[in-house]
């Protein structure tokens, strides 16, 4: 059996039983996405990397508390979310800079869909900036809902709330993003 065939839930159970080497596989599977989430929240690459390391060490220490009632990813992002919020609270005097206006094409990844390709660089920069100006609880729901989860149940588990609450929060977060974007752009988003 290769490691690819082993589920995250099985791996974390082995970690809980004392095989910490399985944590390496979980790290390789998930660290990029956890990092991207932490980076969005902290806006500081060095801080985001520190938080990611902390997250996976917490996973090692808390492995025994994982219950198979939900997905490992939701549990992992719940740890990541709490660690990031702790970091932001402790480091509130030195928030990372907002994304710069000179949004570079080179930063954009090559998997954009047709809609995003049509959107101008400047407008994408404004969108990135608008997202960064939102409070943490709105940024996290948008990021996790857009990039990490396809059900409100998992999203709610990651955010420590019920699926219905996650749904309402997402609705509000998108309203606020729309307002923030319109304020910064001088006009609503028009793809």
């Amino acid at each position: 059996m290769t490691m690819h065939a082993v589920s995250d839930e099985q791996l974390i159970e082995w970690v809980a039983n004392g095989d910490s080497s399985c944590l390496g596989t979980l790290f390789e599977r998930h660290h990029r996405r956890v990092y991207q989430f932490c980076l969005q929240m902290t806006r500081n690459p060095a801080s985001a990397e520190d938080v990611v390391q902390e997250v996976f060490i917490k996973v090692l220490r808390k492995a025994g508390s994982f219950r198979n009632t939900g997905s490992f990813r939701a549990w992992l992002f719940n740890i990541a979310r709490n660690a990031t919020l702790d970091h932001i609270r402790k480091d509130k005097s030195q928030p990372g800079p907002l994304p710069q206006d000179d949004y570079s094409e080179s930063l954009m990844v090559d998997h954009r869909t047709a809609e995003q390709s049509a959107a101008g660089q400047e407008r994408m920069g404004t969108l990135q900036k608008a997202l960064a100006t939102l409070p943490a609880h709105f940024q996290e729901v948008i990021w996790l809902g857009r990039f990490e989860f396809d059900s409100f149940r998992d999203l709610g588990q990651a955010l420590d709330c019920k699926a219905g609450t996650a749904r309402v929060r997402m609705h509000r977060a998108m309203q606020q993003l729309n307002l923030a974007f319109t304020e910064l752009n001088g006009a609503p988003f028009d793809a």
């Binding site: 990029r32 990397e49 005097s93 959107a119 100006t133 609450t165 609705h171 729309n178 609503p188 028009d190």
Partner: protein, 236 residues
């Protein structure tokens, strides 16, 4: 390379601009971590593994019950020694740094208060977002946020100010003002912010008032249903 298999929630809003924003979010840059992260993690994992084994060894040797005071004593001695060696030469530098940090914090606070009083709603909104970081221990900022939450002419600013005041919902001054606002506001966006806040952080009394307003149809119908469903699923 970024992972192309990105899961995403179905977008549920009927607002065309929000739908376009949701689609556009997929194009945001997904920066890759540096190689330092992987190296750092495996170093920490090795260290954590060693700690794990040393913990087992201590337990096996019967030192478990002594570990607390032994560790504390060692830390005190180590701390004392380190302070003797490094303390004096570093003090002036750390004082200057502390003074500088204090000045920056004061300037930031003034900037936030200025923004909260600005004419442009966009600037006030920015002020509200920045004020969230100060609101926990600054009465003047809490007061300015309350004013935005209850009196601002832009619903978006009122809604954002309510969110920023969320952690203070338990304090009588803020809690009473916000619950009073919930009873009297007609704006669905403001109601939505307050309902979300009370469901998350409200005490028993505030939740009771929320249910009463929902039962009496004094909230937007969708919100009243959401309140009733949330409270019912909590009760189950």
């Amino acid at each position: 390379m970024p992972d192309k298999n990105t899961p995403s929630l179905p977008f549920e809003s009927g607002d065309a601009n929000e739908q376009k924003l949701w689609a556009a979010l997929a194009g945001l840059p997904r920066t890759e971590p540096s190689t330092r992260l992987r190296q750092g993690f495996y170093d920490q994992l090795e260290h954590a593994g060693a700690e794990h084994w040393s913990g087992r060894l201590r337990k096996w040797l019967g030192l478990g019950s002594n570990s607390g005071w032994l560790t504390a004593a060692a830390c005190v001695l180590l701390g004392f020694g380190t302070a003797q060696l490094l303390g004096e030469p570093r003090a002036p530098e750390s004082d200057r740094l502390a003074a500088l940090e204090q000045s920056v914090a004061t300037l930031n606070r003034e900037l936030v208060l200025d923004r909260l009083r600005a004419d442009a709603p966009g600037t006030r909104l920015q002020g509200v977002y920045q004020a969230s970081g100060f609101a926990q221990d600054d009465a003047e900022i809490v007061q300015a946020l309350l004013q935005r939450a209850t009196q601002d002419r832009a619903a978006s600013v009122r809604s954002a100010a309510i969110d920023a005041l969320g952690p203070q919902l338990g304090s009588a001054a803020v809690g009473n003002e916000l619950m009073d606002l919930l009873e009297h506001t007609d704006s669905p966006i403001v109601q939505l912010a307050l309902v979300d806040l009370v469901l998350r952080n409200g005490n028993r009394q505030q939740l009771a008032l929320l249910v009463k307003l929902a039962d009496e149809q004094r909230l937007h119908p969708d919100l009243a249903t959401h309140v009733q469903n949330s409270i019912r699923s909590d009760a189950i």
